[in-house]
Symmetry: C2
Subunit: 114 residues, 2 copies
DNA sequence: CCGGATCCCAGACGATACTG
DNA sequence: CAGTATCGTCTGGGATCCGG
């Protein structure tokens, strides 16, 4: 753990791990990334997978993930509109971490029973 | 990625990875955990390591980490007061993840230059 | 089908002062 | 030394309506 001072989005961070958290913290981001790690999805597919989201929030989170280069937004010039979302190379690279987050969480909850 | 519906702190989560994020998201938590992964620390040591923190915030984050069972607060009955903080077994188990978060962040920032 | 624009609130976070 | 207590701010996220 290098504790390397860095600037990102005009904020100062003390460790690069904080940058990663900055990228994936957002109400629906891990879920979006997890679903996209399984398959390419259209907007309304994601909506069905995450019924708790509002359109606005889903859009917002997708835009941020896109801006950060973690996902790709593919627009087809057809009517009715068709938009697909998929992981970028960078996005793919954090899939192992998502799994670890998942495993730890499951493990943690198990221990709470005991 | 199981997408396993769980309850935690009276909130509903769709995947256990969200629980892990819930545990470590907080302005100073990853830093605290990272520092404690290197050595046991006293309160004012942590304060010196993280000069940006206020006492209130540091206390708050430490209390939450303790309540969640990730760190241990060891109070010595002496004057002046002496309190030590260290990782619990559960806390130790997320150290590998902290490193991954760190590595990804560093990697990510590198790519931004290119 | 996909998303933008507005309004609003709780809760996270901060500043400052005080204490056993 | 290691905290409380109090108050103030700010922003992430929700609700709702509008538009191409």
């Amino acid at each position: 753990m290098p504790f390397q001072k860095v600037q990102f989005r005009d904020k100062a961070f003390t460790c690069t791990s904080e940058v990663t958290l900055e990228l994936i913290s957002g109400k629906w981001k891990v879920l979006i990334l997890s679903y996209l790690s399984k398959k390419v999805c259209r907007f309304n597919e994601l909506q069905k997978l995450m019924p708790e989201t509002t359109q606005k929030m889903l859009t917002l989170q997708l835009r941020e993930l896109e801006k950060d280069g973690l996902i790709i937004r593919k627009v087809y010039a057809v009517a009715p509109p068709k938009v697909e979302y998929l992981l970028s190379d960078l996005g793919e690279r954090l899939v192992p971490m998502l799994k670890q987050l998942c495993n730890f969480g499951a493990d943690y909850l198990d221990r709470l029973e005991a």
